[in-house]
Amino acid sequence: MKLHGIHAPHRKNTVDSAPTRLPVPPVITVPMSMNIGAPAKPVVKPGDEVKVGQMIAEAGGFMSAPIYSGVSGKVKRLDEIVSANGRFDTVIVIETDGAQTMWEGIKPPVVTDKDSFVEAVRQCGCVGLGGAGFPTSVKLNVDPDRVHNIIINGAECEPYITSDTRTMIDSADDVIYGAQLLQKYYTADRIVIGIEDNKPQCVKIMQEAGKGVPSFEVASLPALYPQGGEKVLIYNTTGEIVPEGKLPIDVGAIVINCTTLAVIAKYIKTGMPLVEKVVTVDGSAIANPQNVIVPVGTPIQNVLDFVGLKCEPKKVLYGGPMMGTSVPSLEAPVMKNTNAILAFDAKDAEDPVPSSCIRCGRCVAHCPFNLMPAAIESAYNNKEPETLKALKVNLCMECGCCSFSCPARRPLVQVNKLAKAMLNQYNAEQKAAAEKKAAKEKEKEAV
């Protein structure tokens, strides 16, 4: 079986752009919710001096990650903002001093076994840098014997983005070092990096860098979006299908983004946690598309000012055009999992006008998970949660292939998101009703 997908335009304009460092912005705004799970808890207060690499927020629970400052300066205030996903979030606002003084406490962690390795990953503040923002330490906190395949995600299947490409070009050694660490602490049979074949230079570089590393291999995969989707990549590199409701580890796989791995490797080598990101800045409103090294928390406006705008941007995205989130304001900060900022002119920003479904079946033909988006849409419109359940809308990863290929420009991804929420609510209600019934019967029995 071959998984479907789409031939999205590549537009990898910035492959050859070695990242340049953004001049220190006057102010950074670091949000506490940069990962899936609990937000981090601030450990600094207004007036505190902070330095580069110093912790400013601790993990807010197991499913969380600490946050470190990417600048030296003074904490101005803690603030509430509405983030791009519409939720309230706390931010730490830091006024920079431009000196970029390093924090004295930076030293490589002591890693001796799997547990200390996972603790180091936790301390480095890493989250899934491919975009998902899943706390990496949680993912790695598994029984090593269960891991058969370690899959490094270098697919970078989204159009425009080249930050992972640059990681593989500029930090291949870190990726390999990270791979060796994983191999040391997990008993995987195989460690494979999946790269789309539109990046032959990365395939070559990783093959060179990985020479002599036992059971390491490079998989050159067809450039078919969404090649870098977790379940897609697992299937295409191992043939394993992650069943509904299960995790990759249930089929013996760990998938880790190549940049995430490089950041972990760097931290274990030097003690410098995740404080800055390589961000691809591109799109039709950008004068000089390029890769930029940006401290986490830098307002998008500063990044756009640095690279230069061709015209006023009408739509700006965190991430790629297939799955990226549009930001309501240029004040929005670069986050840990921001790998690109795309700014589009009025023409590209325009929302398409939907027309009636013509039942061409393209949404079905292009869905990597064989779902039927048009049927899901009608079930959602008719408010039929049972049908949605049967159609398995819960499997949808919102990759956007259906909307992309729809000639009637139906908002299928949007409806899938809403349908998932409808199904979740329905399932919760069903569960509550069942529990209530069970409790009543118990009561009756007692009488």
Binding site: A8, P321, D351, V364, F369
Partner: protein, 313 residues
């Protein structure tokens, strides 16, 4: 705040729209239009213009009256009008052609909710209705240019009638005449060459897939061979090519999955052969597609995709 547009992903789209798809179908029908004029004269063009104009006008008027968005720019009404015209004999009175276009758009398409909602192919259904309503005019076959009908003939039997019935007069056209279109029949169905060109264009442009036409034509080829008919004649005769490439592939009334398309195509082929060999009508393509249109929801149900990693509760 900054007047920024915020919307759900994705933020890029494929180039194809409903309009470009319908435009491609019109382009694909262009060779058949040329062939109809070559073999049946300028009157063919007149019938085509009338059908397209009435179809588009009916769509516009109905949507205007109902206060619905006007969709004539998606070109689907033009496609329906042109397909209907190509399925009519050139001698059809223009008012009957106009009536057919009216039935296709108003009764079959708009009464069921417009584009994407009709259960049967509008052009096919309108043709079948006309066949019943105006059976004389609908089976009045004018001899085609370059055909081997007698020079002074007013009417000419179609190859299928010649193959099927005793008493039908005339000589069978050669295979070359069949392929090029110099034979009796509906004005757009006779030239297999023109239709094949259009079909290949549609497959190349990924507007249709090969499954339906190959299954449809293949089934007719194999079954007629098994039944001792003349398979090459059977395949090129009647409306098989226009039906297989342009009518049975209608998105709304045929299944979306490859498996469904194969079942649909085989079903069409089977019914066509049954009608041609044992039925009262010499030709069965329209009826076969119409019948399979009715079965379409069941085929869709049988050929539902299996979600990747889905677990049955």
């Amino acid at each position: 705040m900054d007047n920024m547009i915020v919307s759900v992903n994705p933020h890029v789209y494929a180039k194809d729209t409903t309009q470009t798809i319908m435009r491609d179908v019109l382009i694909a029908l262009f060779p058949a239009v040329i062939a109809s004029i070559v073999f049946f004269g300028v009157q063919a063009l007149l019938v085509e213009v009338v059908c397209v104009a009435v179809a588009v006008a009916c769509e516009w008027a109905f949507e205007k009256i109902c206060g619905k968005p006007i969709t004539i720019m998606d070109l689907s009404a033009a496609v329906t009008g042109l397909l209907l015209a190509l399925n009519l004999p050139v001698s059809i009175p223009l008012w009957q052609a106009a009536f057919g276009a009216f039935v296709a758009i108003i009764v079959i398409k708009q009464f069921f909710g417009g584009i994407g909602q009709n259960f049967a192919n509008p052009a096919i259904t309108a043709r079948v209705i006309m066949l019943v309503a105006f059976s004389g005019a609908m089976t009045n076959w004018v001899p085609a240019a370059f055909s081997n009908a007698p020079v002074d003939a007013v009417t000419a039997a179609t190859p299928l009638a010649l193959l099927g019935a005793e008493g039908a007069e005339g000589t069978l056209p050669t295979l070359a005449q069949m392929f090029l279109g110099a034979r009796g029949g509906s004005m757009g169905e006779t030239s297999c060459l023109a239709l094949l060109l259009g079909g290949i264009y549609l497959i190349y442009r990924k507007v249709i897939s090969w499954h339906t036409p190959v299954a449809f034509i293949g089934t007719v080829l194999v079954l007629t061979a098994l039944l001792g008919q003349q398979p090459l004649y059977q395949v090129m005769a009647g409306g098989l090519f226009i039906g297989a490439f342009f009518m049975a592939t209608d998105y709304t009334t045929s299944p979306p999955t490859p498996a469904g398309k194969l079942i649909f195509g085989v079903g069409c082929g089977l019914i066509t052969v049954l009608i041609r060999v044992w039925g009262n009508y010499p030709e069965g393509v329209s009826f076969s597609i119409l019948l399979m249109n009715i079965l379409n929801p069941y085929i869709c149900d049988w050929t539902k995709t299996k979600p990747f990693g889905g677990v049955q509760a």
